[in-house]
């Protein structure tokens, strides 16, 4: 399997569309990572809240 780019700078340039292609991937996968993080943070906070409540009312 061969890459469709001859050099790394060709890859970065994306045939002149790099300034649209890279922000596009950054936005998409930034949101993917952000949502995974937000979901785990929400679960951790809910667990902490539940633990505190149990400690207060054993």
């Amino acid at each position: 399997m061969n890459s469709s780019f001859a050099t790394f700078s060709d890859f970065l340039a994306m045939s002149g569309y790099g300034k649209y292609v890279w922000p596009c991937f950054l936005l998409g996968f930034g949101v993917v990572i952000l949502n995974a993080w937000l979901a785990s943070r929400s679960l951790a906070a809910a667990k902490l809240e539940a633990r505190r409540r149990l400690e207060m009312n054993p």
Binding site: F11, M14, Y17, Y20, V21, N35, S40, A46
Partner: protein
Amino acid sequence: MNWTWFHRLASPPHVYAFAQRWTRWFGGAAALAMLIALYGGLLLAPPDYQQKDAFRMVYVHAPGAWLSLMIYTTMAVAAAVGLIWRMKVAHAAAAACAPVGAWFTVVALGTGMLWGKPMWGAYWVWDPRLTSELVLLFLYLGYMGLRAGIEDPAKADKASAVLAVVGVVNVPIIKFSVEWWNSLHQTPTVMQMGKPKMDGDMLWPLLLMFVAFALYFVAVLLTRLRAELLRRERNASWIREVVA
């Protein structure tokens, strides 16, 4: 027909345990599929004969836009189940869908704008596809705003579920907007009857990315659902066992 599985879905401890067990598997499979699809889409797929390498934006834009619709449909179905069978877990699932769906609508709109500029010459046009996708974002925001604005959880569940169900009419409007009206946006390439209009080397990373995004959504939904259940079932005895 055996309905045990449906009754189990109504049991918060059962759903919590299921979510706890399966999240990492869905998350792991999603990450692996995403990496392979990214490699295939960014490096192996040949450039398009017209759009050159700009077409690679499809690997983010199409799965993101599809997910924004899939999540809304899931949310509306969960809300309807919650309304019809008064199932709290279903309302919790609908609530867990909304923020993720809103974010992926932002992805669909944002990546679409980045693709629109070099191809159409404008970041935004008031085109049926773009406008109906923007309405989808407002539906998600309206759903979340409504939930946040009603203090009584049961009333919040009911009111927001009605909005989610009514709003589902927008999903086919988005899907078929490119066929019903004159649109700058292209008609479907992959999701159509018959053979996809795309070369195999370009197609497999895209199909794999769809699978990856779906698996990812399940993992995030299960995580958010666990958090929702912990908050809603604060006085239930099973909570003690799962957070100890």
